[in-house]
């Protein structure tokens, strides 16, 4: 397996959605290819960070009351 093939499969590898033979090929490739390990680690970091975005705590929210008033006008 070369780097392009490995990178193409990294998301499915992360999701554990590949056949065992392919998993072994990727694992073998990652053992000997530091650049691909770097990409895999980065993708993993993006996915784990994405999960904690769901709470939406850091988003700058607009004024809830102003939107409520707009909504009230639109409803009537």
């Amino acid at each position: 397996m070369n780097c392009s093939q490995a990178v193409e499969l990294l998301s499915e590898y992360y999701a554990d959605a590949l056949d065992e033979n392919i998993i072994i090929e990727i694992k073998t490739h990652l053992l000997e290819c530091q650049p691909c390990v770097g990409i895999f680690d980065d993708v993993t970091l993006i996915v784990t960070t994405a999960r904690i975005l769901r709470d939406g705590e850091h988003i700058p929210y607009p004024d809830e009351q102003v939107l409520w008033q707009r909504l009230t006008v639109a409803r009537h």
């Binding site: 499915e12 650049p35 990409i39 680690d41 993006i46 996915v47 960070t49 850091h58």
Partner: protein
């Protein structure tokens, strides 16, 4: 035959989502307002992530709650209210995309350079530790189709099967777009870090 205890457990708790939805459907404005304030942030944040634009997110939030006002009577309590409203929000955004004729991207990035791996150079350009702000900013720079799949899968936790159904694409396309979105995000975060 149901016992009194059974009936009591079937009654929604006062001011629960189910109770408020029922009262809103019966025309109680205060109940609808309570639902609005309880779910406003969740709806707005989903709209913002999918649209990548605060002004559009405000408009779609308003449209979603206007739609909720009209349809709250059709909530039967088969699913959680939050799940039902979440799905309604996603549908509202997708309808907006269709009106805008935003095409869901093909599985390749036309005109973009694929990831080139040069042995011995990759680690020097490793992505910096990614924080929430950097990722949010990068998500907003994604093309709409990639952004939708990434937000629905990695942020909101939908499965590919459901995403494919919602977006009207093949499940394989959803998987492929997700992977390309992740790689694009990595690229955007690295580029942003290089500028700082």
């Amino acid at each position: 035959m149901a016992t009194v205890a059974d009936v009591e457990t079937l009654e929604p708790a006062a001011d629960s989502d189910v109770d408020l939805a029922r009262r809103a459907a019966e025309g109680e404005d205060a109940a609808f307002e309570a639902l609005y304030h309880r779910h406003f942030r969740r709806v707005y944040s989903l709209c913002l992530r999918m649209l990548g634009n605060p002004t559009e997110a405000e408009d779609l939030t308003q449209e979603t709650f206007a739609n909720l006002y009209r349809k709250v009577g059709s909530f039967r309590g088969d699913s959680q209210f939050t799940t039902w409203l979440h799905r309604m929000t996603v549908n509202q955004v997708l309808m907006h995309f269709r009106k805008r004729s935003v095409k869901m991207e093909k599985t390749t990035f036309e005109g973009e350079t694929p990831i080139q791996i040069v042995k011995g150079t990759e680690n020097a350009n490793r992505m910096p530790v990614v924080d929430r702000i950097a990722l949010e900013s990068a998500i907003q720079q994604l093309a709409p189709g990639y952004r939708s799949v990434f937000v629905l899968h990695d942020v909101e936790g939908y499965e590919h099967e459901e995403i494919a159904r919602m977006l009207g694409i093949a499940e394989g396309t959803s998987k492929s777009q997700l992977h390309k979105a992740r790689l694009k995000l990595r690229d955007l975060i690295r580029k942003q870090a290089a500028l700082n």
